[in-house]
C-alpha cells in the first residue's frame, strides 16, 4: 500500500507501476495526478489525471490558456500543493502524501522557484535575498555569503550585490530571483511566467540565461502562455481543461 492510498483510500488511487529498468528514472514522475477543489457545494476538478515524466536535464514549457489547470500543475510540481489523487515522485521520492514540514524541506533542497512578480523581499539587498533559501537550509554565514555571491556572479549581477530590489531594473530583479533559485543547486528550476512582467529586452536576457542553464545540464520547467518563450524549450506540454492535450517535441 502506498502512502496516497493510505490517505485517499476510498478513492480510485493510481496503482503504482514499477519503474521500467530499461529507462533511467525520470526526475519528475507524475502519474494519474488529480486535484479537486471544493468550491462551496461544487467540486472543481482543476487537474484531472495527468501523466508527465521529465528527465533530468530536460527543458519543458507548460502552456495553456488561463483556467487550463497549468497553475495548479505548477503548484503540485513545485510541492506547494499536494495532489488529491495519483502519485508524484520527485527524484525517486514520493511527495504526494507528505506533510507541510517535509514539503518545505523538499522545496528548499530540490526546487528553485522563479516567479512572475519576482517576489524579492523589498527590505533586503540582492545578496540577502539570494541567501534566503540557504538560511532556511541552515547553511552557516560565511559559506552562505560566498555561495550567494557566486550565484549573483553567475547571473551577471556581481556588481549589484548591495542593491535593494527597488534600485534594480525589472530584468535585473528577475536575474536576482534566478540567482536565488540557483543558489541551493536544486534538481529542478521551476519558473512561473518568468517573463510576464518584463519588456522584450529583459525577456531576451532572462531567456538567454535559461538557455545557458539548460546547456549546463539543469532541469527547467517553465510555465508560460507566450509562444516565443515556449519555443526556447525542448518540449512543450499544452494543457486544456485540466488535462494534457498535446505534447510537442
Amino acid at each position: 500500500m502506498t502512502l496516497p492510498e493510505a490517505i485517499f483510500g476510498d478513492q480510485p488511487a493510481y496503482q503504482g507501476v514499477a519503474p521500467d529498468p530499461e529507462q533511467p528514472e525520470a526526475l519528475l514522475d507524475l502519474r494519474g495526478v488529480r486535484k479537486t477543489y471544493q468550491s462551496g457545494s461544487l467540486q472543481v476538478d482543476a487537474v484531472r489525471g495527468i501523466d508527465l515524466q521529465v528527465l533530468a536535464g530536460d527543458y519543458v514549457a507548460i502552456m495553456g490558456p488561463s483556467g487550463s489547470g497549468k497553475s495548479t500543475l505548477m503548484h503540485i510540481i513545485g510541492c506547494l500543493d499536494v495532489p488529491t489523487a495519483g502519485s508524484y515522485r520527485l527524484a525517486g521520492v514520493d511527495v504526494a502524501g507528505m506533510g507541510e514540514q517535509e514539503l518545505a524541506h523538499v522545496r528548499n533542497q530540490r526546487i528553485g522557484f522563479v516567479f512572475q512578480s519576482f517576489n524579492l523581499l523589498p527590505g533586503l539587498t540582492a545578496q540577502r535575498n539570494v541567501e534566503l533559501p540557504l538560511v532556511y537550509a541552515g547553511v552557516s554565514g560565511p559559506e552562505r555569503r560566498a555561495r550567494a555571491r557566486a550565484a549573483l556572479d553567475r547571473v551577471g549581477l556581481a556588481d549589484r550585490v548591495d542593491h535593494r530590489p527597488n534600485e534594480l531594473s525589472g530584468g535585473q530583479q528577475q536575474r536576482v530571483s534566478v540567482a536565488r533559485a540557483l543558489v541551493t543547486e536544486p534538481d529542478l528550476i521551476l519558473a512561473d511566467e518568468p517573463t510576464g512582467n518584463l519588456d522584450s529586452a529583459s525577456t531576451a536576457e532572462v531567456l538567454a540565461l535559461f538557455g545557458d542553464l539548460h546547456d549546463q545540464g539543469r532541469t527547467i520547467v517553465i510555465i508560460t502562455h507566450e509562444h516565443d518563450v515556449a519555443d526556447q524549450a525542448r518540449r512543450v506540454v499544452v494543457m486544456r481543461d485540466g488535462a494534457i492535450s498535446e505534447v510537442r517535441e
Binding site: 513545485g78 514540514q101 523581499l121 527590505g123 537550509a137
Partner: protein, 422 residues
C-alpha cells in the same frame, strides 16, 4: 534557521516599520513604567510606615484601657476608661508570672504649656518610669534620664525632647551658641515651668524625627509620681493611660502577649468577654497601618496593569496587521523552504522583541521616575531588583502571549494562497 538569523530577520522586519513598532513599544513602555511606579510608591509608603512604627521600640506590646461608659450610657471608646494603674505595671514586671516580658513602662500623658523665662510652648507631658527609655528605644543625648529613686521621691525633674528644648532655649544641642530664648545656653540645669510646676531640666533626648504618631521630639518626660501628684487631673494618682511592654525577643512576643492578657484579666477580675483593656502588638499596628496603603497600591497597580494589558493588545493588533500585510512574504518564505514552525518562531520573536524592548524602556523610565519622583512628591519610591526582573519577564511574556495568535495564523497560511494574493 538559527536563533541569530531569526532575531536578525525579526529586527529587520520591525525596523522596516519603524514608526509603527515605536508606537507599539510605547504602549508596553507606559504600562511597565506605570506598574513599576505605582508598586514602587506603595512599597515605599509601606516601608516608611513600617519604619516609623518600628521606631516606637522593638518587640513592643501596648496596653490601653477599655471604653468608659458615662452615666448616660454613652460609651467613650477605647482608652477613655482609667482602668490601668501602676499596680498593673508592677504585676506585669514580675519575672515569675511573666517570664517573657523584659521591661514595663507605665505611661500617662497630657498636653500642657511649658515656660522657660519668656519663651512659652505647648508640649506633651509624659509621666513614666526609667524603663521608658529602653522600652521606647530612645536615648539621651545630653545630661541624663531620671532614676527609680527620683520616681520614688517625686523629684521635680524633667527630660526634654529636642523640639521642645529648641522652642524654649533655641538651637542648643551640644551646649550650642546661638538661637533665641535664653541666649543659647545648654538647657540642662535650667528651670522650666510645666503646667505651673517648676521642674529642673536634667537631660535631652536624642532626636528621633516624625512618625505616624506625630513629632516624637516634642515632649517633656518626667517621673510618673511627679506627674501624678502635681500635673494629673485624674482622681486616681496611680492611674496610667498606657502601659508599654517590651517582650524578651521577637520569637516570644506572642507568649508575652498571652501572659499580659492573662495577668491583667486576673488582676482586674474580669473575663475575656468583659475585658476592660486591650493589648495590641507593634506587629498588629504595622499591619493595620499598612493595610490601607496596600489596598491603595493594589488598586493603582491594577489600573496600571490594565494599561499594560492594553499595550499587549496593541502588540497583538500590530502583529495581526503585519501578518495580513506580509502574506506574500510569508508565502515566499514558505516556498523557499521555511517550515511552519520557522514562520511561527519568526513572528513570535518579533512580538516578543516589541514586548521586551518596551519592558527595558519601561524599566528605564520607572527607575528614572523612582529617582526623580521622591524629590517632587516627598514620598519614597522603592523598586526592588525582583520588581525590575518581574517587569522584564512580564513584558516578554506579554509579547509572546500577544504573538501566539498572529504567529500561528502566519504559520498556518497555505503557501499557494499566500503567493496568489496580490
Amino acid at each position: 534557521m538559527s536563533w541569530l538569523e531569526t532575531v536578525r530577520t525579526a529586527y529587520g522586519a520591525l525596523r522596516t516599520r519603524r514608526m509603527r513598532s515605536l508606537l507599539t513599544v510605547l504602549g508596553i513602555l507606559i504600562g511597565i513604567a506605570a506598574v513599576m511606579l505605582t508598586v514602587g510608591l506603595g512599597q515605599g509608603a509601606q516601608s516608611k510606615v513600617t519604619d516609623q512604627i518600628n521606631k516606637l521600640g522593638s518587640n513592643l506590646l501596648i496596653v490601653t484601657p477599655g471604653s468608659a461608659t458615662s452615666s448616660a450610657g454613652v460609651r467613650g471608646g477605647r482608652g477613655t476608661a482609667t482602668t490601668l494603674t501602676m499596680d498593673d505595671a508592677a504585676v506585669l514586671a514580675d519575672p515569675v508570672a511573666a517570664p517573657d516580658i523584659a521591661r514595663v513602662a507605665p505611661t500617662s500623658q497630657s498636653s500642657l504649656s511649658v515656660l522657660a523665662g519668656t519663651a512659652n510652648w505647648t508640649t506633651t507631658a509624659v509621666g513614666t518610669t526609667p524603663e521608658w527609655v529602653q522600652v521606647r528605644a530612645r536615648s539621651v543625648s545630653e545630661g541624663r534620664f531620671f532614676t527609680a529613686a527620683e520616681v520614688a521621691a517625686e523629684s521635680p525633674v524633667v527630660v526634654l525632647g529636642q523640639t521642645t528644648a529648641t522652642q524654649l532655649f533655641g538651637s542648643s544641642s551640644g551646649g550650642g551658641s546661638s538661637g533665641g530664648g535664653l541666649g543659647g545656653r545648654s538647657p540642662v540645669g535650667q528651670l522650666v515651668t510645666l503646667g505651673g510646676q517648676n521642674l529642673t531640666v536634667i537631660g535631652l533626648l536624642t532626636a528621633e524625627g516624625s512618625t505616624a504618631g506625630g513629632d516624637q521630639d516634642d515632649l517633656a518626660v518626667l517621673p510618673q509620681s511627679t506627674y501624678a501628684s502635681r500635673l494629673s487631673t485624674t482622681a486616681n494618682p496611680r492611674a496610667v493611660s498606657t502601659i508599654y511592654i517590651e517582650g524578651r525577643d521577637q520569637a516570644s512576643l506572642s507568649a508575652a502577649y498571652q501572659q499580659t492578657t492573662k495577668i491583667l484579666l486576673a488582676a482586674h477580675g474580669v473575663t475575656a468577654a468583659t475585658m476592660d483593656f486591650s493589648v495590641s502588638s507593634q506587629q498588629a499596628i504595622v499591619e493595620s497601618a499598612t493595610t490601607i496603603t496596600r489596598v491603595l497600591t493594589v488598586l493603582l497597580a491594577g489600573i496600571a496593569a490594565i494599561s499594560l494589558l492594553v499595550g499587549g493588545i496593541g502588540v497583538m493588533n500590530i502583529m495581526l496587521v503585519s501578518v495580513t500585510e506580509r502574506v506574500r512574504e510569508i508565502g515566499l518564505r514558505k516556498a523557499l523552504g521555511a517550515t511552519p514552525s520557522v514562520i511561527l518562531r519568526q513572528f513570535l520573536v518579533e512580538a516578543s522583541m516589541l514586548g521586551l524592548v518596551g519592558g527595558v524602556a519601561g524599566l528605564a523610565l520607572g527607575l528614572l521616575g523612582a529617582a526623580v519622583l521622591p524629590g517632587w512628591i516627598g514620598q519614597p519610591v522603592t523598586i526592588s531588583p525582583l520588581a525590575a526582573g518581574a517587569a522584564l519577564g512580564v513584558s516578554l511574556a506579554i509579547g509572546i502571549g500577544a504573538g501566539v495568535y498572529p504567529a500561528s495564523r502566519a504559520a498556518r497560511l497555505a503557501p499557494i494562497e499566500a503567493l496568489r494574493s496580490e
